[in-house]
Amino acid sequence: MLAFIGRRLLQSVLVMLTVALIAFAMFRYVGDPIVSMVGQDTTEAQRAELRESLGLNDPFVVQYARFVSNAAQGNFGISYRQRQPVSDLIEQRLPATLELSFVSALMALAFGIPMGIYTALRRHGVLSRAFMALSLAGISLPTFLIGILLILVFSVQLRWLPSFGRGEVIAIGGWTTGLLTPSGLAALILPAITLALFQMTLIMRLVRAEMLEILRADFIKFARARGLPQRLINFRHALKNTLVPVITITGLQLGSIIAFAIITETVFQWPGMGLLFIQAISTVDIPVMAAYLVLTAFFFVLINLIVDILYVVVDPRLRVQSK
């Protein structure tokens, strides 16, 4: 068990290093950092000096190592566009994205899993069919369209909820939160629903498919042959066996919420990392892009690690050596 965790940790570190490599490659080779940093009238000699002082003439491996150690401390250099340290920008924006992602993830799980179970157990009921229709809409509507529609209905027509910004925020330490103010919460609702809908639908369909598959298994048939009541079979045997494979995929899905936040933040002008990233792409602001890449990868890898460990804890076949 310990060996397993050790191996996974090693794997995660390797993945992070690979990501760092890609980020670094972007940094060095896409566009000229010097050109983006200085004005038009710096002389060639000054540029050469700058290049030397920034260590841009050092061998690849040295520069890469420097990049990695900097990144580990949160130092990603200066944004080309905004002329601020990237780490400052991140600090300002990260709480917004994380809060939004977290609330959405919670919504997606809290609704997706029960709906999935329900539609698997009562396949032909009216409510089930309604859920299935809803799920179809959920995966057919692009996130941005959902956002636009919600804005149209709730902001423009009904004027109930705000359509941009975060509302009032309260700073606690280095973190700014919108969860403690009424306007903050109101501003969170529409973006959270938009972000959660796609994930929720995906989770619901996944849970349903897995559960239907499990309900056809031999051991379920044997349980019925023993006269166990259907409820017991559903919730003790089928559900547990369903959740095991679902855990892995759900983990992956939730990790991708952070990336999908990009879209939601754009539609709702939510001041988070995603919006920053999009602006960085159109202005080719490499340091910001690199930082976003590394940060997102980090969260993703972390979530995957947690999910894998959870998997081993839940499934006894992986824990105990089989005879």
């Binding site: 794997q11 993945v15 690979t18 990501v19 972007m26 896409v30 566009g31 179809l136 809409a137 995966i139 057919s140 509507l141 692009p142 996130t143 941005f144 369209l145 636009i148 529609l149 804005i151 149209l152 423009v156 056809r216 992956l252 990790g255 991708s256 952070i258 990336a259 999908f260 990009i262 879209i263 754009t266 990233f277 999009i278 960085a280 792409i281 159109s282 080719v284 490499i286 892009m289 890449l293 997102t296 990868a297 993703f300 890898v301 995957n304």
Partner: protein, 308 residues
Amino acid sequence: MIARLAPLFARAADSDLWYSFKRTPSAVISAVITLVIVVGALCAPFIAPHNPFDLASLNIMDANTPPAWNPEGTTDFLLGTDDQGRDILSAILYGSRVSLFVGFASVLFSMVLGVSLGLISGYVGGRVDSIIMRIADVQLSFPAILIALLIDGVARGLLPRDMHDQLALYVLIFAIGISGWVQYARTVRGSTMVERNKEYVQAAKLIGIGPLTILRRHILPNVMGPVLVIATIHLAIAIITEATLSFLGVGVPPTAPSLGTLIRIGNSYLFSGMWWISIFPGIALVALVLSVNLLGDWLRDALNPKLR
């Protein structure tokens, strides 16, 4: 040629798949809708009432006309016009072309790449398999949309401006395609590993047939089933991804607007009450994706041997 195809059609017509198709109303309806949109897109140059890209034909006086059933609308512009005077209906027809082109092309690219890698990985095994699966795992650490965005961003940085516009469409196809191959590869790899242990493959080896021929003649036809299901789902995702990227401004170039671009253009006018500029392309997009999804659902149920 016809003589050779005839038994194939006879077999298809008698097959369980066609039988299931005829009896599933949702499948038939979605197939019809998809067909309508595809045909409409293909024939856009012939059936669109106006050409929205011919700058000469645009009249700024026509701008911001509401749809035909509105008292201020005209039947000349059935679904209204945008801020430049472009006919929304025609824009949708041309836009669908781009959306469908990017969608199909990316799926094709993903499929070819993923299936090939999956076959090799599953059949050869060993180190090659480990390497390919490692790469797949690393890539799975990222959401597809992020990968697509990154590739797009990097391309933007690497290529000079005008060249980027020309190649933008292909960069996009490449980006979406690369972000999607893993699913195919994993599935095909799993099926390949099952098939390669089957006795008909061993019989082929015993005859002396080489690995490439075995892959092509024996394994490939038997692993393609699930691939088709994945492809339909992937098509829906690819179309949505392209629309999303275009909406964000980093997708197709402005010279070839897709449905996503149209929605983006109209987004700024939502508050001023000119809802039709965004909503109609939105409806077209949703109709397309919905139909593809329904077809994918039906296909998956129909091909699942355990449900029969």
